[in-house]
């Protein structure tokens, strides 16, 4: 079973990398960019075949390692 996990910075957490990308886009001539937030994307291959069990497992992985819930949100998508 394959899972896709998106980790994004919580609202209000400063994202200097996103800001730098936003500025670069502006200087390249892309107008109308009102904001860029950078995040992380993970693909996790699981041996588990039960969707409910996989979700529980993935949630634990996110809480314990993949995301720092002090500053980040995560979203799990099971294929």
């Amino acid at each position: 079973m394959k899972a896709k996990i998106k980790v994004t910075l919580k609202n209000g957490v400063l994202d200097p990398q996103g800001k730098a990308i936003e500025h670069a886009l502006g200087s390249m001539g892309f107008s109308g960019v009102n904001g860029v937030r950078q995040g992380k994307f993970f693909e996790v291959e699981l041996a588990e075949t039960d969707k409910a069990k996989a979700e529980v497992l993935l949630k634990q992985m996110c809480e314990k390692l993949i995301a720092n819930t002090v500053i980040e949100n995560y979203a799990i998508e099971l294929a």
């Binding site: 957490v13 400063l14 200097p16 390692l65 993949i66 720092n68 002090v70």
Partner: protein, 221 residues
Amino acid sequence: MNSAVLLFPGINRETDMVKALEKTTGKKPQVVWHTDTNLPAGTDLVVVPGGFSYGDYLRCGAIAARSPIMADVKAKAAKGLKVLGVCNGFQIITEAGLLPGALVRNADLKFVCKEVRLRVENNQTFFTKKTVKGSIVSCPVAHGEGNYIVDAETLKKIEGEGRVVFRYVEGTNPNGAMNDIAGICNEAGNVIGMMPHPENMIEALHGKQDCLPLFESLLAA
């Protein structure tokens, strides 16, 4: 005073820390490998040194914070073991949940390697007892992710309880950290994390010895 210095793959400041502790406490610290599950018996102080544990993969300090040895550090810290995290060590112990908040990319995205000036805000901790409150010490920093952030409520609590131990002197904040915070302690005061490297400002060859009183505090504590 028995000290231990933790070693993770990618840590590179452990030798400086070992020398600083040996020079100032008179006793050579034990170096403890990350896969060990127990600190040496009788350890009074654990220092998590600087470097780039696990190449800063995932988030700086994230993987080291989940190492086997950290479970013992966390369990013993809850019972009063003194823990000091410097630079990557600060990131590691914060990721481990020993301190609140997080250390994120420097606001200007640049790695900073320079001398900064710190004000001692709290001289009642095990690492500042031999300093004067409000005094200013020079100390080098070398980091790309030292921007301390925390939610507004916790920040208010940390400030209110005098848990900001070191603050960058106004106008010298090298990373955008909230309230110019350079180092904090936990509620009980037995865990301290700081971004600057005091171990690199204690020898005549370092140019200044401003941080000697910090290490001398260890014996007074």
